[in-house]
């Protein structure tokens, strides 16, 4: 998946604008394709290892690091570092704010797609 929008929309704090159209409910931090995939992956998990997210989203280490830093700065993702045996591991998890933002973002996507009656993404 490309990350064409990430540079233009990495501005935490200006996430949604009021308006009648459901697109105004889209979260600008989450809207970028790679970040959306990262958040969607973490939304289904209590926590996930960095490598698992990298392989699932199909990006490089550096791209994932950059996007996770943006999400962390927005308060959407918590990063925990630790060891399993002697191997260093990095764990990623959605914060409560991140989960709420993703739920609202998906609600807006469903409204745009005309899937309002279907289950949560």
């Amino acid at each position: 998946m490309s990350d064409a929008h990430s540079g233009a929309q990495a501005s935490p704090g200006t996430r949604s604008r009021p308006g009648a159209h459901p697109r105004h409910g889209l979260d600008e931090v989450i809207h970028a394709p790679v970040r959306f995939s990262i958040v969607a992956t973490l939304a289904a998990a209590d926590k996930a290892e960095f490598a698992f997210v990298r392989d699932t989203v199909e990006v490089s280490d550096s791209v994932l690091s950059r996007q996770v830093a943006t999400l962390e700065k927005a308060g959407y993702v918590a990063v925990t570092k630790g060891y399993v045996g002697k191997r260093p591991r990095t764990w990623l998890a959605l914060t409560e704010d991140g989960r709420a933002a993703f739920t609202a973002h998906c609600r807006s996507l469903r409204a745009i797609a005309g899937e309002d009656g279907r289950g949560d993404g």
Binding site: F36, A40, T41, A48, L109
Partner: protein
């Protein structure tokens, strides 16, 4: 433009569902974890109830500590845990603890070495893990 946006939103939602499915598949280790937990709880309970003193305490408690250590290491090494697993696991441990003590105290007081008490008791303490594994597999 609006038609494009609609398709785009539908594609994003489909991608989110696909990623959620990948996470759930990656969390299937918790089935093995919970079934192993249930089996280990049963073996430990049988050892405590049916072996003679002091082997019952040595083997029963020793085996349980080894099993818990192994399961904890196994869980810690997994790359992903599905949403809600931590809470679910805490519930599993609490259910096991309640059943364990509900079987243990009457057992050591009135039913030392009585198979008719300890075998059903062992099956009872295995239930949280076995039921949890079954429900996890059905997700």
């Amino acid at each position: 433009m609006s038609e494009y946006a609609s398709k785009d939103a539908a594609a994003a939602l489909a991608r989110a569902r696909e990623l959620g499915s990948t996470v759930r598949n990656g969390s299937k280790w918790s089935v093995r974890y919970q079934v192993a937990y249930g089996c280990a709880a049963a073996v430990s309970m049988l050892a405590i109830g049916l072996l003679s003193h002091p082997y019952n305490v040595a083997f029963g408690i020793g085996f349980w500590i080894l099993a818990l250590t192994g399961l904890s290491v196994y869980a810690a090494r997994q790359p992903v845990a599905r949403r809600g697993f931590t809470r679910w696991n805490n519930g599993l441990i609490m259910a096991w603890a309640l059943l364990f003590f509900a079987v243990l105290f009457p057992g050591i007081t009135w039913f030392r070495g009585v198979e008719a008490w300890w075998v059903p008791g062992a099956m009872l303490v295995a239930l949280p893990g076995l039921i949890g594994g079954y429900l996890e597999a059905r997700r």
